[in-house]
């Protein structure tokens, strides 16, 4: 979240973000070389923007929320890079972690009653058409999982990370990751019955 403080425009984390506009010629290290700050912001977006937005969309299921999430994460990372004059080796992984952190942080603040999804359809599925309906239900049910369960499943099934990598991203133990994934899958299975399971 961006907030104004006395006398300067600062990121909540403390990184001044208005300075780049006032001194556009300042050079910083980025991706191993020195680049202009505005160019740096553009290259962050060009290199990782689409991929981050897709991950954020998997987490939020809302286009506007995904965009807000990635914007916030990029501004945080951008500020951090400017402060330290150095970018991490794997910039995408760093940004993805920022997106996850921002997602978990902001969603904690939201009302638990805010997300309302359609109720599940009847599960007497016999045909291809209804299997498609069930996939739609699965997508809806994913949105109803807890934020941490959803984050684990997105990292595991969309980003194809191992449990140890997920644990590192989320800053928790592997056993916690396994537990979150298991509970998430149980919740999904209890609600969604696929055709192949009935055969």
């Amino acid at each position: 979240m961006i907030s104004l403080s006395t006398g300067s425009v600062r990121h909540k984390s403390g990184a001044a973000i208005g300075q780049a506009t006032r001194s556009p010629g300042r050079r910083i290290l980025m991706g191993g070389g020195a680049v202009e700050v505005d160019e740096a912001l553009s290259s962050l977006v060009a290199d990782s923007g689409d991929r981050l937005l897709r991950v954020a969309y998997q987490l939020t299921h809302e286009r506007a929320a995904a965009q807000d999430l990635v914007q916030e994460a990029i501004l945080r990372v951008y500020g951090s890079i400017r402060r330290r004059h150095h970018s991490p080796d794997d910039l995408y992984a760093y940004l993805r972690r920022a997106v996850l952190n921002e997602f978990l942080r902001t969603r904690r603040l939201r009302s638990s009653t805010e997300l309302v999804t359609d109720s599940m359809p009847a599960t007497t599925v016999v045909g291809v058409e209804e299997a498609v309906v069930d996939r739609a239900a699965l997508w809806g049910r994913l949105a109803e999982l807890s934020e941490r369960q959803r984050a684990v499943l997105v990292l595991r099934h969309y980003e194809r990370l191992t449990d140890s990598e997920i644990a590192e991203v989320l800053g928790c133990r592997q056993s916690t990751v396994r537990s979150l994934a298991m509970r998430g899958l149980v919740a999904l299975r209890s609600a969604v019955v696929f055709e192949e399971e009935r055969e």
Binding site: I2, V45, A46, A56, V70, L142, H157, L188
Partner: protein, 344 residues
């Protein structure tokens, strides 16, 4: 269900994500938004210096021609939260400055920044003005376009008309939403309270109550919530419903009976039928409440702004009511609704 199914479902929805072009535009505007008052201050400084130089060069006597060329700069002072909510609800600390507040609750454009001030209290007991002290403030930075879209299309509350209100006691939070644009500022009030009876105002325009819950969400998260999809439930309505039963520009129709029937086209005849009936301002409480099969809620959706919701009850008085306007008889509207449902 197996792991591949989850991966497949996620992949199926991948294309729905926004793309990086939108992101870069948003980031640039956000950086500009955060730095706007530096730019304004710098611009004022430059203008001041140039004016001084010009005055010296011209001998301190600017001609009429020169005055006409140098129009005064727009000075938009940053908004700050008043320490008290110093008036009966709905209240704002100042009238709109530099922007129009007569015809809408807020301009139909995305503001550059949004400051929210919260004043917490109760709607019961002695809740005199002094009780509404500032409880918190924050900047809302997410979905400002959605906020503008919501506020700009709020329905006008017609003065002198009474509305049915509950009397449930409970927590009430009054919000002041300070919107800053390049040419001015506007305060909008919104109240989140148990009876959903307190409307919003900008000091010139008074709206029907509807934005209080969204204001609480925005104050909690820093992001104005997305509009909920159209559903069969009462809705506050839309700007223009005090002039026409169906305000112009409807792009969809949902007819609620025992379920929702969504109709995307060919409802023009129904709009004409509803808008051709003689109407009057006033409450639309059905009295007496008859048993009838012709009982519908019509929800007309729009590209911008909230939908308008119209109750049609054959045999009631009035038979048609949109939350502000009522029509005694539905006339040809009911056969057209039946026809649309039959075709649907």
């Amino acid at each position: 269900m197996n792991d591949d199914d989850i991966a497949a479902v996620m992949a199926e929805h991948e294309h729905e994500a926004p793309n990086a072009d939108d992101l870069l535009t948003g980031l640039r505007s956000r950086r500009r938004r955060h730095g706007w008052w530096y730019a304004a201050a710098a611009a004022l400084l430059v203008i001041g210096v140039l004016s001084g130089v010009w005055a010296v060069v011209s001998g301190g006597k600017p001609t009429a021609k020169r005055l006409a060329v140098t129009s005064p700069p727009v000075v938009v002072a940053p908004l700050s939260c008043p320490t008290k909510y110093a008036g009966p609800t709905p209240w704002v600390p100042a009238k709109p400055r530099g922007v129009s507040g007569n015809s809408r609750l807020a301009p139909n454009e995305t503001p550059k920044s949004v400051l929210m001030c919260a004043y917490k209290g109760s709607n019961s007991g002695d809740y005199s003005v002094s009780h509404w002290a500032l409880a918190g403030k924050r900047y809302v930075t997410g979905n400002l376009a959605g906020l503008a879209d919501e506020l700009a299309w709020q329905p006008r509350k017609v003065l002198g008309e009474d509305y049915v209100c509950g009397a449930v006691g409970g927590i009430q939070t009054n919000y002041l939403i300070g919107l800053t644009y390049s040419r001015g500022t506007i305060w909008v009030s919104a109240s989140d309270e148990p009876n959903h009876c307190v409307g919003g105002t900008n000091g010139e325009f008074i709206a029907l109550p509807s934005t209080g819950v969204d204001a609480t969400k925005a104050f909690t998260t820093g992001r104005w919530p997305d509009r909920a999809p159209i559903s069969c439930r009462p809705d506050a309505g839309r700007l223009g419903q005090d002039i026409a039963m169906v305000p112009p520009g409807a792009v969809s129709l949902t007819i609620c009976t025992d379920r929702a029937h969504t109709i995307k086209s060919d409802f023009g005849k129904l709009v004409s039928a509803l808008n051709s009936r003689p109407t009057d301002l006033g409450r639309g409480v059905c009295s007496p409440s008859p048993k009838t099969d012709d009982e519908y809620q019509l929800i007309f959706g729009y590209r911008q702004g909230p939908p308008v919701s119209i109750n049609v009850y054959k045999g009631c008085f009035p038979e048609v009511y949109n939350g502000t306007l009522k029509a005694e008889k539905a006339g040809s509207a009911i056969p057209i609704i039946r026809q649309l449902l039959g075709r649907h």
